[in-house]
Amino acid sequence: MKKVILALCNLLLAMPLSYAQHKPLLYDFYEIPQAIMLNPGMKTPFQWHVGVPLLSGFSMQAGTSGVTVNDLFANDGLDFTTKIRDRVVNSMVKNDELGGSGQIELIHVGFRSRNRPDDYFSFGMYGEGFLSLFWPQDLAILAFEGNGANIGRRFNLNHIAMEGEAVNVLHFGINRSLNDAWTVGARAKVYSSVFGFRSANNTGSFVTLPGQDNILRNTIDADVTLRTSGVKEFLDIIDEDTDTTRRDLIDKFISRSLFGGNLGLGFDLGFTHNFGNRGHVTASLLDLGFIYHTNAIENYTVKGTASNEGVFIELPEDLTNFNNDLWRDLVDDLEEKVPFDTNEKAFITLRPIKLNASLRYNLGASRNAIKDCGCALNTTSSNGAYMDYVSAVGGHLSMIYRPRGPQAALTAFYQHRLANTIILKSTYTIDKYSLSNIGLGFNLQAGPVNMYVLADNLLGYANIADSNYASLQFGFNILSWNSN
């Protein structure tokens, strides 16, 4: 066990952390119907549920692993350029990330099968978007200081890494309780990409060295690509800048959301496995899928190698064949060797795969003890296995694939039930940059009405501008619990 924990810690510390799209408060919070979107194989204590349209699931997350808003914009009397130089250019590294994500459920409905009560079906539609920008460390230094102050320094172009998209998702999932020990689930998704962009796996460098013949030699070796889809359609509308621009943008957004954009397919998988009377483990793999981008594509590439030591005049060769357009020839040669091109080639993007795993241990009472507690809340699932608890502790590991590889977050949680109507969940998330991320979740069950609010990194709210991360999720549902 120690080896497993040590391996997990090493894995966590070795990887850059991303705050975006990790949802440790919601994961396995199975009294909240939206938790099934994070693990289609979670326990489902509902007979049915209906999310309040547009309000059933809303989440926003934003984070930066480097500088905070307060670091730069605090009214502290310091020179702003000095703050940028000291706290951004000279401090942030290529793995520092500025990221954010948001999700809003349009429809979310679930129901238990009458013919086969062990099955719980859920379906719906949601829109989500995310942005992940890695700090282009070398290019920022080049822009701030220039190559003249960095003779001999190689500026790596692989520091360019960014990704973002807005996508509408139609989904249908099935959750099946196989027996007292196992619950499994799967979800199929159809993606409709509104717009997206991605630049990753770039290579190359720019360097200025003492020249072989002349004083300086600038060399660029570039293989940089930015793929976009849908972006140009929105930019064109903005460029038109007419009286109907706002309306046109909304219409375009809606049309591309409703399968007028680029389409894709994906799957979620997950399970829950009970052990003993009190514990269970879960795992899920989300967004195992792709989007095939075929329309509204605009890709940009810079690819090639060139060196430049200025205009050359060498006698006697240039005595008779002198060309007065040496400068234009130099520029043309550079543009030919390192062309900036655009194309409309179709491409496939893999969805940012997310992996979750959790271990949970119930406290206060075992399943069998709760069975006879006479509590108002129904506590059995369709097959009679107990779903309820008084309190619970556990851990959760989540990982997401990003342009610089997988990113992880490790969370410990404590969950407690109050009077069968309120459930509180507190989390403590550690990562490479912060040891003080405390989150709290609140779930209220008032009759058939379910309401939840989940917020991460609450200590950061004392000075939100100085926080590296902020997150908020809430939603409203109408649901019916399983009968005894």
Binding site: N75, F80, G146, I313, L458
Partner: protein, 178 residues
């Protein structure tokens, strides 16, 4: 349980506070990188110098629009042009670099005279902008005229292997990106 609730209440009381922020300071950001590049390289061997009928064995104008590219012309704050002159021939030589407008008007002239070999590398830095020559010289330059003159005889040959006159040049500009 009461302690748990108390913790909750305390933590929520801390919500949504923020120190005063001044986002207008972003307007004060200045980005002034130094952009450096070679400009031109001139080289002539000694037999070519000896071929000239008169003192000037070479004179040509060539377009050079690096300084007045919009990116540079609209943002340049100051600049330094560095010249290096190396002579391994048996001649005393003179090289004249002139910056011209598109219509041929001379904006600036730099004259270099170098003794016959053996002689040390001649390096000269010419500043433009703050404390130096006017920046307008660079911004309006469209053509460079290079003149090379032989101030010695037309027959002697250096005993050095591959005797040459070489003029190297580079520029470093402070650019106001923001």
């Amino acid at each position: 349980m009461q302690r748990f609730l108390f913790l909750w209440i305390c933590l929520f009381l801390t919500l949504s506070c923020s120190e005063e922020q001044d986002f207008d300071q972003a307007d004060d950001l200045t980005l002034t990188p130094t952009v450096a590049s070679s400009i031109f390289y001139f080289e002539s061997d000694e037999p070519t110098i000896n071929l000239a009928d008169n003192n000037a064995f070479y004179q040509e104008d060539f377009t050079f629009e690096a300084f007045n590219e919009d990116f540079v012309a609209e943002r340049v704050l100051d600049g330094v042009i560095t010249y290096q002159l190396e002579n391994t021939t048996s001649k005393t030589l003179s090289l004249i670099v002139q910056f011209l407008t598109a219509t041929g008007a001379v904006l600036d002239t730099e004259t270099f005279t170098v003794e016959a070999a053996p002689t040390a590398l001649l390096e000269r830095q010419v500043a433009y902008g703050d404390g130096g020559k006017p920046l307008d010289i660079l911004v309006n330059t469209r053509v460079i005229r290079l003149t090379a003159e032989n101030l010695g005889d037309a027959t002697s040959v250096s005993s050095s292997p591959e005797p040459k006159i070489i003029l190297r040049s580079s520029a470093a500009f402070g650019i106001q990106l923001r």
